[in-house]
């Protein structure tokens, strides 16, 4: 009777933990984000905004891959200079490294989009000029404004 109580308790305790693990208990956590260096499935852009968005996201992926951070961390860091500095510190880079990676990623994404016929000549040169010369804070605003040039 005494041994039975202890054995029964062990069985119930272990059984419950195993059941919860079987129901997915160990994987119930935030969804991991995708690797920015791996190619992502793309869908056909149906509007100007979507084409611009694809260029920006491709640029973010390229820059994030080069810096060894996730695309989402990079996008969240673009909220302010402080956030950018925080990401630079966390990932072991300087803010200059981040800027360089972003500009380089954007130029490459624009080239690729131009080659694929997603953006026209004028838009491609405007975006490339912006990527190379504009202060980082203005870059995203400019990208939003360029929709009228397409």
């Amino acid at each position: 009777m005494r041994a039975l109580l202890f054995v029964l308790s062990c069985c119930v305790a272990i059984g419950l933990v195993i059941a919860y693990v079987a129901f997915g208990g160990t994987s119930y956590e935030p969804t991991p984000v995708a690797n920015p260096c791996a190619p992502r499935p793309t869908h056909r852009a149906s509007s100007t905004d979507e084409r611009i968005e694809q260029v920006v996201l491709a640029a973010s992926d390229a820059a994030a891959c080069r810096l060894g951070v996730s695309r989402e961390d990079l996008v969240l860091a673009l909220r302010s200079v402080d956030d950018l500095d925080r990401l630079a510190q966390k990932s072991g880079h300087s803010r200059d490294d981040l800027e360089e990676a972003l500009r380089d990623g954007l130029v490459r994404a624009v080239d690729k989009a131009h080659e694929q016929g997603l953006v026209g000549d004028r838009t491609a040169s405007t975006l490339t000029f912006a990527a190379e010369h504009l202060p980082l804070g203005l870059l995203l605003s400019v990208l939003r404004e360029t929709s009228s040039l397409l």
Binding site: A3, A13, L16, G24, Y28, V33, A34, R71
Partner: protein, 454 residues
């Protein structure tokens, strides 16, 4: 006329009433170690303090009780009636001070004083129960059972009072209830216990410390998960967590028939570890997932706490002193649990906040809503996150006034789900650490002298 016909007579208090009154006093004092758990979010907001600071409302009381219990027990063995009366009055006065506290510092200070009163009350209660029952064994069982019921019912009672009348009502309601217990002293003669006190039962007390540390996770973290994590109404959360005391009381009633004290203590520790382990691997964020773990923890509590208390007091005299050691061990365990688990929990919360933000950003980027609207929505979501002031944000607020189409609804549901996943995962590590504490109690239980029952 005989003089006796003019003497005012006090109605006699029956043994059952005395037992109930003393039990009420013990229950009140020991419920206080966890009664404010559900009130912590309200206290945090009212006094504008952080999670590690607000935990001191619990820590101060438990630390005070752990430090004062043994000295209080030595006082109680010499003057049990005076100790019970003084302890009750101090406890009631400090409860009023807690309920009327104008600042966080006063609240924590009053909690320390309340703990000293509680220690005197609880230790003297053991000798009072022996005087009522005329038997050490029965008084120990009543004393241990009142403590288990008080500790287990605390969070639920506190949650319901907080939601209906405000957190202050917990303390304001305690004061008159504590004073009522003084009626148990009317006409009761308690003899002081002379002679030196023997050495405490170290293994039983160490096991009590570890089990109490583990139970802190169940009582403290579970209500935080329900109220702050899953945004369940505190009154509803109070009802949900009554599963645990109900299981403890039901198991406690039949515990004596289930085996020797060592077997019950070991089985209880395993059940508590199993319940906490299951809380550490919750497969979803519905309160229904917490029911089975609560049943295990409650059953384990009903089996182990009373068994270990009986073991610590068995054959040891005076009872009050050894009772004091068990109170010190139990509440030192709660303090260890709070000090150990709070930093683990807060660091896990910080880490998972980042993971949730990242997963949320991915959900917004990959959603099918128009790109320019995404930017506006992302800003609204981030504004809600920043305005939440370290509480779990309600991202649904960011969707107010947005188009009622499937793309928005799907994104809202994804963000809420990611947040629930992050919060639930943040609680996993402290629950698993608490399960380890419960399992560690098997070592002193195994080392304690007595017939081996497993």
């Amino acid at each position: 006329m005989p003089a006796s016909r003019h003497t005012p007579t006090v109605p006699p208090v029956s043994a059952a009433h005395r037992r109930a009154l003393v039990g009420l006093g013990i229950g009140l004092a020991l419920a206080d170690s966890s009664v404010v758990t559900l009130a912590l979010p309200d206290i945090l907001r009212q006094f504008d303090v952080e999670i590690p600071q607000v935990a001191w409302v619990l820590t101060a009381y438990n630390l005070g009780l752990a430090l004062a219990a043994v000295p209080a027990a030595y006082v109680a063995r010499r003057r049990p009636r005076t100790a019970f009366a003084t302890g009750t009055l101090v406890f009631a006065a400090a409860s009023l001070a807690c309920g009327l506290a104008p600042s966080f510092g006063v609240l924590v200070g009053a909690r320390c004083v309340q703990a000293v009163g509680g220690a005197l009350l609880v230790c003297a209660a053991l000798d009072l129960l022996t005087a009522v029952d005329g038997s050490d064994a029965r008084s120990v069982r009543t004393w241990a059972a009142a403590g288990v019921v008080g500790a287990a019912l605390g969070p639920a009672a506190g949650g319901i009072l907080t939601e209906t009348l405000g957190w202050e009502s917990i303390f304001l309601a305690q004061a008159p209830l504590a004073l009522v217990t003084l009626a148990a002293l009317v006409g009761l003669h308690v003899r002081p216990v002379p002679g030196p006190a023997g050495r405490p039962n170290v293994p039983a007390n160490v096991a009590l410390l570890l089990i109490s540390g583990a139970l802190t996770a169940a009582l403290f973290l579970l209500v935080l998960l329900l109220v702050d994590g899953w945004r369940i109404d505190p009154a509803v959360a109070g009802l949900i967590v009554t599963v645990l005391p109900a299981a403890a009381i039901a198991t406690g009633r039949v515990a004596h028939r289930l085996g020797g004290s060592r077997t019950r203590a070991a089985s209880g520790a395993v059940l508590i570890a199993g319940g906490l382990g299951a809380l550490g691997v919750l497969p979803g964020s519905s309160w229904l997932w917490t029911i089975a773990p609560q049943l295990l923890v409650g059953a384990g509590l009903g089996l182990s706490l009373s068994a270990l208390t009986e073991r610590a007091l068995h054959g040891r005299s005076p009872q009050a002193v050894h009772g004091g050691w068990t109170i010190a061990a139990r509440h030192a365990g709660v303090v260890v649990g709070l000090l150990l688990l709070t930093p683990v929990f807060t660091s896990a919360l910080d880490r998972n906040e980042e993971r949730a933000l990242r997963a949320g950003a991915a959900a917004v980027i990959d959603s099918s809503i128009p790109p320019l609207e995404k930017l506006g929505l992302a800003q609204d979501v981030l504004a809600v996150v920043h305005a939440s002031n370290r509480e779990v944000p309600d991202v649904r607020e960011a969707f107010a006034g947005k188009p009622d189409d499937s793309a928005y609804r799907m994104l809202e549901s994804t963000l809420v789900s990611e947040l629930d996943r992050a919060v639930t995962a943040a609680f996993a590590r402290p629950f698993l650490l608490a399960a380890v504490l419960a399992l560690a109690a098997l070592i002193p239980i195994g080392l304690s002298r007595g017939k081996v029952s497993v």
